[in-house]
Amino acid sequence: MWQLLDSDLELVVESDFIYLPLLFDPEIEKETQVLLQTGKPLENSRQPEPKTIIKHKDRHFVKALSIQSLLDNYPAINSYSYRQLRNDCLRKYQLTRDVDDIFFDGPLRTILFQVMPYFIKKNRGLQRNKLNDEKILDLILEKVSIPARYFKEAKTFQDLGPLREIFKDLEDQQPIFKLPENGLYSGPELRDWLHNAVHAKVLANEHHRIAEALQIREQFSRAKPEHIAIMLYIADTGSIEIDDFGFTRNNSYKGEYFVYKRTRDYVLKDYYARSYLFPDCRVAVSTYTPFRPFVIEKYKHPFLLGHKAGQEICMRNFVPPNELTAQNVIRTIEEGLTAMRYGYDGRKRNGYHTLDKTWVHIPTIDFEDYRI
């Protein structure tokens, strides 16, 4: 069917059915003559059904597809195309779920407006001002290069006109699309019509979401477009990093994030005061329990059990917090960073592993490659 709509064939629409050019063989020709005889009743003639074969400009066409049925079953007939059309349509009006939710995403707001200001260099010189939300967003704008397309999308986001119009039509129970009139159409013409009709149906199905989106956008209609662009960028990428501090979306749990701070390179000393240079890593805490610090990368350290990614840091007296607050996140990250950079005591050889080889245990993790 899609090949037909993509071809340069001419198709006829009559009584909401698509008619295709009739192909012939001797049997079909005989049947056609019988069907086209004047006064000859068609099959199931009790109901006023559209004709099976019609003649248009001396060409024969055969009834093939019901437009209404095609439209109703479009998601099942071509799910890939439907998903694509739906996404295009929702993106056009910035209606993808994450976009609107992000403005009221609790953990994200905590990270952005309470945790981030603690870790990033926000003041120049000797000024010490407490930053409000708007200034934090301005700071992000200074330090992160946001691609231009997000600024364009921000304008679309704040333009409530088209969305209001659609919402009004839906509220007034207006027909969401008009079936094509009878006549001759090219394949691409019908395909375009079908795509528009699918768009209209998608919007009708998203009635509630449009109402919610309108409500949210009206609240943010006076916000700076640049700030909206930052939020759209975060909704899309799920991460931002400034001055070694950052966060990234936790793909395993929806709406959860990993908040992290980089250690940068640091040096630890062993029993004999020999130095070991440890590479940079990200010490993180999840917004989803347990609120324990861990290292995101594949990493080895005396306080990490193995040499792999996502290991919790061994901290003897650390009691993880019970709830997600900015203070708890800051404390957990700082405890983790301190443990990694200053927690190892070469004389005590504390932790899972020792930096120097003791020959008492079979060494599992070796730090010789870090020695300087």
């Binding site: 050019p21 009739l22 192909l23 012939f24 063989d25 001797p26 079909i28 020709e29």
Partner: protein, 153 residues
């Protein structure tokens, strides 16, 4: 006992799958589509002699048919259908079903005029040009043989 066996044998034969033979419409319609034959082909068909001179025919000793997988149930557009039916009406002989190329369609009528009783095996295996040259050579041989025997007398 003999009768019972006979009946069983006949019934087994009836149940046997018979190969579906390509009919003339499917064959010519496939050729029309494959070679993009146009209306002008009908004019060429009108102008061809029943007994062509053979000057343009190749002297290859045996020319086999080009293999062709035609559609078993060919469907044609209105124009293709009209052209196919016109070709069938113009040639109107049983050899047309064995044509594998437009060239063979053109040779169909002359070949039929030379010998209308060629076996389907021959028609399906050899190119009509070869068959035509063969049939014509046979006739010429017969004529010359008759002529020479008449001269000896």
């Amino acid at each position: 006992m003999g009768l019972l066996k006979d009946i069983k044998h006949k019934r087994a034969k009836q149940r046997q799958k018979m190969p579906l033979r390509q009919d003339v419409f499917n064959q010519i319609s496939s050729l029309v589509k494959r070679y993009g034959i146009k209306e002008s082909f009908l004019d060429i068909l009108d102008n061809i002699d029943d007994y062509p001179s053979g000057e343009n025919l190749k002297l290859a000793r045996v020319r086999l048919k080009a293999p062709m997988e035609g559609a078993l149930f060919s469907l044609a557009t209105k124009d293709e259908y009209a052209l196919t039916m016109s070709i069938i009406a113009k040639i109107n002989n049983s050899y047309l079903r064995f044509a594998h190329s437009p060239e063979e369609i053109l040779l169909c009528k002359p070949l039929y005029c030379l010998n209308p009783s060629l076996s389907p095996e021959k028609l399906g295996r050899y190119h009509f040009e070869t068959l035509f040259l063969h049939e014509r050579a046979k006739i010429e041989n017969n004529e010359s043989h008759g002529h020479s025997t008449g001269k000896n007398k």
